[in-house]
Structure formats: structure tokens, C-alpha cells
């Protein structure tokens, strides 16, 4: 292993100009993927917050019993889609309504009764299974004590569709980067294999096994992929920190987050693996053994 790494580092140093430009090209490709992931994860966070702004409201009948209310609350609390459940009594609803609209409030007060229903306000989690909100609503509607269920489906649905489209774009971008990185590694390492063809021939005559000959080339590809993904992750980190603290972008400042450790470590691992894969193909294509 030490021999493979030392030989790979020597190879990279000997062709340092090519290695540098390859690493930069790969870093740009990873940079696109990393930037997408930053935007995607930040939008996902924003979407989750926005979903809380489209709560599901369960209006209760005036004659609802305590047992029915407990059953409804229990049903809501146990549903995996519910992020939060809050209760608004009839009197609280009136108080809130009067506070928000003085004129309408006065009109209701003049009626001598409270026509506003008690309700449960349910905050929903983002990224639930398709149709899960609809299923919850249907279940609630059939429960005794439930007058009506309101959910701003259209707005939430539109936002979700937008999010799904963005996910698809990411999938396409990820695939393009994957192919691009493998191709770049493949092309660079193929040249390296051809450059060392006579050396490889000598190694074969000395009795080298295929893995022994391949080792330094695979390590070279993996090191390039690792360096490139490392550069792109570092560059992204600096950029995100700059956006966070920048006074030039006041609307974004403080709201943008860098990739979670699992994601950026995964990105670097993927870079290493793709570099390795590219050089593996280069070896077999360039040197039939």
C-alpha cells in the first residue's frame, strides 16, 4: 500500500501540470454538484419551514365531547406527518379574531353568541409520502366531533411540485457530474498508462501481478478525485461562509447553511471513488493484460 501511494504521488508530481489542471477540472465538476446540494438542502429547510405556515386546521363541532376531543388529539399526535398540534378554544378563537379585525369582532360580539368553532391547528412535516396529507384529512373527517378540516393543499402542493422538480434537476446534475468525473479520470489516467507503457512491460516480465501494476494508477486516480472533491468542498465552505456574513447580500445573510458533515464527507468519498473507477477503466482499456 505504501509503495502504491508513494509511486502514485511521484507520478502525480512528475506530470504536475497535467495533474493540476485535471484536479481543477474535476473540482469544478464537483463544485457544481456541491453548490447544487447547498441550494437543495437550504431550499429543503425553507420548504419545511414554509410547510409549517400551511397548517391543517381541524374544526370541532360545538357539541364535541371531551372523549371525542381526546380521540382526535390522539389521532393527530400519533400521525407521523404531524410536526406540532395546538388547540384553540372557541373563546380563544373569538379573542384572536377580534384582535385581528376590530370591526368584524364588534359585529360578532353584538350577536351575543360565539359562532367561531374550537379547533386543532396541526403543523405538517415536510417530505411526507405522496397523498399522506390527503389520507390524514379523510381519516379526520370521518371522526365524531369533527366539523370540517381545512388544508391549503393547492399552495402546499405547488411548493412540493417545485421541490420535486428541483430534486429531478439535482439527479440529472449528479449523473452528469458522475459521468464527467469518470471520463476525465479515465482520459487522464489513460494517458498516464500509455506514458508508462514500457515500464509496465518491464514489470510484467519481472513477474508483476495485475493488481501490483494497477495499484499505483488506481491510487493516482483516487488521489486526484480526493484532492478535487476536497478543493471543491473547501471552496464551497468559504463561499457559504462569505454569503452568510456578507453585507452585500442582506436578504440571505444568516439564512444559508453549509452542507452537513455526512454530505460533504460523502461528496469527498464519492470523488475518491469516481477517480478510482475512472483509472480502473483507463487501465483495462489502455493495457490489455
Amino acid at each position: 500500500m505504501k509503495y502504491f501511494l508513494v509511486t502514485a504521488l511521484k507520478n502525480l508530481w512528475e506530470s504536475r501540470i497535467t495533474s493540476f489542471f485535471t484536479a481543477v477540472t474535476l473540482a469544478v465538476a464537483f463544485g457544481f454538484l456541491g453548490a447544487y446540494l447547498v441550494v437543495f438542502l437550504n431550499i429543503k429547510g425553507a420548504f419545511s419551514a414554509a410547510n409549517e405556515k400551511f397548517p391543517l386546521t381541524v374544526y370541532l363541532s360545538d357539541g364535541v365531547t371531551a372523549a371525542q376531543m381526546d380521540a382526535i388529539e390522539g389521532r393527530l399526535s400519533s400521525d407521523p406527518l404531524a410536526a406540532s398540534v395546538g388547540y384553540t378554544s372557541k373563546s380563544q378563537a373569538l379573542k384572536d379574531f377580534s384582535g385581528s379585525d376590530q370591526e368584524e369582532g364588534d359585529l360578532i360580539n353584538s350577536m351575543g353568541m360565539n359562532p367561531l368553532p374550537a379547533s386543532f391547528d396541526v403543523g405538517l412535516k415536510a417530505g411526507g409520502a405522496p397523498g399522506s396529507a390527503e389520507k390524514l384529512i379523510q381519516g379526520l373527517k370521518s371522526m365524531p366531533g369533527v366539523e370540517d378540516v381545512q388544508y391549503l393543499q393547492e399552495e402546499a402542493g405547488r411548493l412540493k411540485n417545485l421541490f420535486n422538480s428541483f430534486e429531478l434537476v439535482g439527479l440529472g446534475l449528479g449523473l452528469a457530474v458522475l459521468i464527467g468525473v469518470v471520463f476525465i479520470s479515465y482520459s487522464t489516467l489513460r494517458l498516464a498508462v500509455l506514458r508508462h507503457a514500457s515500464e509496465i512491460e518491464v514489470m510484467k516480465f519481472l513477474g508483476s501481478t495485475r493488481p501490483f501494476i494497477m495499484g499505483p494508477f488506481l491510487a493516482e486516480g483516487a488521489l486526484q478525485g480526493f484532492a478535487a472533491s476536497g478543493i471543491s468542498v473547501g471552496f464551497l465552505y468559504v463561499t457559504v461562509r462569505w454569503v452568510e456574513t456578507s453585507k452585500a447580500l442582506p436578504t440571505l445573510s444568516g439564512d444559508v447553511h453549509f452542507l452537513p458533515p455526512g454530505v460533504w464527507i460523502g461528496l469527498m468519498f464519492a470523488g475518491t471513488l469516481l477517480g478510482f473507477t475512472g483509472s480502473f477503466f483507463a487501465f483495462f482499456r489502455s493495457l490489455k493484460m
Partner: protein, 217 residues
């Protein structure tokens, strides 16, 4: 140690590179494979190294039938054979020490053993003081001694030398032939391909003459 039975190999030309070749070499024997350029000497060496497959016939090397060897067994066979080429085939970007050590490295030897054996063979071939130099910094004779060191460090049972003195002057040729004679005296089986009659006069041994792909004694 090496047996050829009616071996034929063709590259698609008007005549086979070697045609119906039969010969045997006992353990510790040294033979010259002589003949003009293009006669088929290098093909015989490649066949022994499994770098080429015969179209017909059987080849036994160190008791193994090379036609029946699996691809994964070939490196093992090659590790028991030392090879020296006319153009040395030293790796230019590796030091002399690293070139010689590579023979042991490919066999998975431990670093300690590699250092010990490589230093020892470099000293025996009087090239130790050049161990940190690179091939292109050495004279032709020194390069050939380094190539011999690389072939011998793994203590091969067979040594194949393809025109080992082809690029060397008379004095250096004498030194290299002296080393080869000593190696043979230690029991290594040697095939030395050459078209230089002077070598045979320096160290007289059995001769296999090959011409137009046909071997005669």
C-alpha cells in the same frame, strides 16, 4: 529445466517465426542461441516467458507446461526466471536501487529483505556505489550490470539473456560474460541469445543455431 517439443509459432508472415523446434536444457546448463537477426531467437525467449503462446507443440519450463498455465499463474513462473535485454530495459525514472529492488517488490518481499538482498547483489556486481544514480547517468556497461543485478536479485532458476552485450565494447563484454559464467557455475540454467561469435569463444558452451525459424545443434 526447459523442454521444447515440436514448437511452432507464426505471426502471420510468409514463414513461421519458429518452426517445429525441439530441444532440451538440463538444470544448470548454459546454451547459446545463435543466428542472424530475425531468425527467431527472441521468439523462443518470449515463448519461455509466456509472452507469446505457441501455435503448436509443447513447452515445459521448470516442470510446468506453459500451455496449461492459467493467466494468473504466469507472474509466478516469470518470477522464477531472470531476463536481461540488449537495451537493458531499466526504468529511467527509478534509481538503480529501485530498479533492482522492483524484482523483489513484485514478489511481495518485505522491505528489510529487499534492502538487504538488493545491496548485496549490487555489491557483488560492483555497482553499489551507483545505487542512487539513475540509468541515464550510467555507462552502457554499468547499465547492463544493473540489468543483470535486477535479474539475479530474485535468485532465478533460469536466466534468459537476449543479446546482453549487443551494445557494449569488448572490455565490458568480457566483464559481463565473466559474471554470466559465474552465475552459471552457481547452478542457474542460462539461455544466451546472440549473433556474436566472440562471446562463444570467451565462454564456450553448447550452441543451438536458429535460422529461418529452424533450430539445429
Amino acid at each position: 529445466m526447459i523442454q521444447f517439443y515440436h514448437v511452432t509459432k507464426s505471426y502471420g508472415g510468409p514463414r513461421p517465426a519458429v518452426s517445429d523446434v525441439t530441444f532440451q536444457l538440463k538444470k544448470g546448463e548454459m546454451v547459446y542461441l545463435t543466428g542472424p537477426s530475425g531468425a527467431g531467437k527472441s521468439t523462443i525467449i518470449k515463448l519461455i516467458l509466456c509472452a507469446e503462446e505457441p501455435d503448436d507443440g509443447q513447452i515445459l519450463v521448470a516442470g510446468r507446461n506453459v500451455a496449461r498455465l492459467r493467466q494468473s499463474d504466469i507472474p509466478g513462473l516469470r518470477r522464477s526466471i531472470g531476463v536481461v535485454f540488449q537495451d537493458f530495459k531499466l526504468i529511467e525514472r527509478k534509481s538503480i536501487f529501485e530498479n533492482v529492488a522492483l524484482s523483489l517488490r513484485v514478489a511481495g518481499a518485505r522491505e528489510e529483505k529487499i534492502r538487504e538482498k538488493t545491496d548485496s547483489v549490487l555489491k557483488a556486481l560492483d555497482i553499489y556505489k551507483k545505487k542512487d544514480s539513475y540509468p541515464l547517468e550510467l555507462s552502457g556497461g554499468e547499465q547492463q550490470r544493473a540489468a543483470l543485478a535486477r535479474a539475479l536479485v530474485k535468485e532465478p532458476v533460469i536466466l534468459l539473456a537476449d543479446e546482453p552485450t549487443g551494445n557494449l565494447d569488448y572490455d565490458t563484454t568480457q566483464i559481463i560474460m565473466g559474471i554470466i559464467k559465474d552465475i552459471n557455475a552457481f547452478g542457474t540454467t542460462i539461455i544466451l541469445a546472440t549473433h556474436n561469435r566472440e562471446l562463444i569463444e570467451m565462454v564456450p558452451r553448447r550452441i543451438l543455431h536458429i535460422e529461418a525459424g529452424v533450430v539445429t545443434e
